[in-house]
């Protein structure tokens, strides 16, 4: 490849949501784009729950609904706070939410990423699969000027390199652009894709047509670890998974596979997946360190987007939308520089960060900047309160001859015993502080 000294405007490393958004936006605007993907096809190495938030994709491909492989339109969202044999939950199901066009969809990433990549190629980018970037090329002054791939003479040059190589971002950390991820800033999630007849999915979740349900769960299922679980309905399958902070997983003895098995056996979950056939088991790290754990997002000739940059809102379970938005904003930054005839220096690429700060990506991460620390240090939110809530519900809904005033007192005493009056007030304050 050195022989014909072909040079690209931009090289995008990785073909997930962030890389695809960047490559698509740049190619569509006429830039000469090379996108490199280590998997056999785009999607073959990618894992997500997965929920697709329409807004982020709509801003890139407005008519995506016409051709994208969507599983179900999410019309009902449940949140379950769980104890070993029960849950207290909320359900939001609304006909207004139900009106087309949908706000969020369940997707199967291997299928979705393949579709997204086809759009990238149609827009004019050169996409090469089964090619792994092993290093960044730099000039004498240290500016990134291209990448080296795992082929002989594998040097490829570009004005700018966008790193969309995912949560592990080996390329960026080996090049010294960022530190490796820390156990306290990342969650490990495991998931099974469990197949059931379409009619069974619809009957079990009270759905018709392409309607879908998501259930987010927390409480005893994470065994005291900071973590959540999820159940998403696809057309003829269910995605069921659980994720916990790696720093917590490190300090206990249950394997991720066992954790998932226990979730499958929970009396509230088991009937929903009964008779299903597991056809895949996947695992993935999720960068949940939030705002305070963000690395440098740009430098001389390079930009980080998506999971490689740590753009995940753990509270709202948003990641792929932030990935797509950051990919688009990176591309738009480069288009702006191109129009003005400016080079990809760090000083000029600072406009990327300004765009992020003006968008949902950094606004939301900033809002929840204290959540990771609060959950690490204040375990009561994940263990005591789910237990207390379920105990309170049990007391409240059991008619057993006891008068209601005595029941209320018993509930209140249970809270006070476990957390003390000051503790309860402090918790309310901490929760308010962490989310403002």
């Amino acid at each position: 490849m050195t022989q014909n000294i072909e040079k690209f405007d931009v090289i995008v490393v990785g073909a997930g949501p962030a890389g695809n958004a960047a490559a698509y936006t740049l190619a569509k605007a006429g830039k000469k784009v090379l996108q490199l993907e280590r998997g056999e096809y785009p999607g073959s190495k990618n894992v997500q729950g997965a929920i697709l938030y329409a807004d982020a994709l709509e801003k890139i491909i407005p008519d995506f609904r016409d051709s994208a492989p969507l599983e179900r339109t999410v019309i009902e969202q449940r949140m379950w706070v769980m104890e070993d044999e029960s849950y207290v939950g909320t359900t939001f199901r609304s006909d207004r939410f139900n009106q087309m066009p949908g706000n969020r969809y369940t997707i199967i990433r291997a299928r979705f990423d393949k579709w997204f990549s086809e759009q990238v190629q149609k827009a004019g980018a050169l996409v090469i699969c089964e090619m792994t970037v092993i290093a960044l090329l730099r000039d004498a002054a240290g500016k990134v000027i291209g990448v080296e791939v795992d082929r002989e003479d594998g040097k490829i040059y570009a004005d700018t390199v966008i790193l969309a190589d995912g949560v592990n971002s080996l390329v960026a950390s080996r090049a010294g652009l960022r530190e490796d991820i820390k156990p306290a800033a990342v969650a490990l999630a495991v998931k099974e894709t469990i197949f059931l007849p379409k009619e069974t999915v619809e009957a079990r979740f009270n759905l018709k047509g392409s309607e879908g349900v998501v259930i987010e769960m927390l409480g005893s299922i994470s065994q005291g670890m900071a973590g959540t679980a999820f159940l998403y309905t696809n057309k003829d399958s269910i995605s069921l998974g659980i994720g916990c902070m790696l720093s917590d997983m490190k300090a206990q003895n249950t394997t991720p596979a066992e954790l998932l098995e226990k979730l499958k056996q929970h009396p509230s979950v088991a009937p929903l997946i009964a008779g299903g056939e597991t056809r895949e088991y996947a695992a993935h790290l999720i960068p949940e360190g939030g705002y305070h754990a963000l690395p440098e997002l740009y430098g001389e000739g390079w930009l980080l987007v998506g999971d490689s940059a740590g753009f995940v809102n753990a509270v709202h379970r948003e990641g792929s939308n932030l990935a797509m938005t950051s990919g688009r904003l990176a591309a738009e930054t480069l288009l702006e520089l191109g129009e003005k005839g400016l080079p990809s220096t760090a000083a000029n690429l600072a406009r990327y960060k300004a765009r992020l700060e003006d968008s949902i990506v950094l606004k939301d991460l900033k809002k929840y900047r204290n959540i990771p620390d609060t959950l690490h240090s204040q375990r009561q939110f994940l263990s005591d309160y789910p237990a207390l809530l379920n105990g309170a519900a049990h007391e409240f809904f059991t008619v057993d001859g006891q008068d209601k005033a005595t029941k209320e007192k018993a509930i209140f005493n249970a809270f006070r015993e476990r957390r003390s009056l000051l503790g309860l007030l402090g918790d309310a304050y901490r929760l308010w502080r962490a989310t403002r």
């Binding site: 056999e40 190495k45 156990p183 490990l188 596979a257 499958k264 996947a282 695992a283």
Partner: protein, 94 residues
């Protein structure tokens, strides 16, 4: 209870025979210098084992998540790479 081996059996892999993509830098660090061996518990694919005082690693079922490298932050004893391009896990659904 479905065992991890049964779960992995459902997956599609293209195994790069005799070319493990993850290596232990120094086995004696695992065997003698590490008490937690968090890799053994945390690896979602059960690739790591510790039996009869010896650490073991078989990467055939690896899901390429990166967990073993990240949990080994105190010792930094995991030489972690992706499999060669085209090899490793091939997610059907992802």
């Amino acid at each position: 209870m479905m065992k991890v081996e049964e779960k992995l059996f459902q997956n599609r892999y293209r195994v790069d025979a005799d070319r493990p993509h993850i290596r232990i830098k120094n086995e004696s660090v695992c065997n003698d210098g590490c008490v937690s061996r968090a890799c053994v518990v945390c690896c979602p694919a059960g690739c790591w084992s510790f039996e009869e005082g010896k650490i073991g690693l078989i990467t055939d079922g690896c899901l390429e998540c990166g967990t073993c490298r990240v949990v080994c932050d105190t010792h930094g004893n995991v030489d972690w790479n992706y499999p060669r391009a085209g090899f490793g896990i091939l997610f059907k659904f992802g």
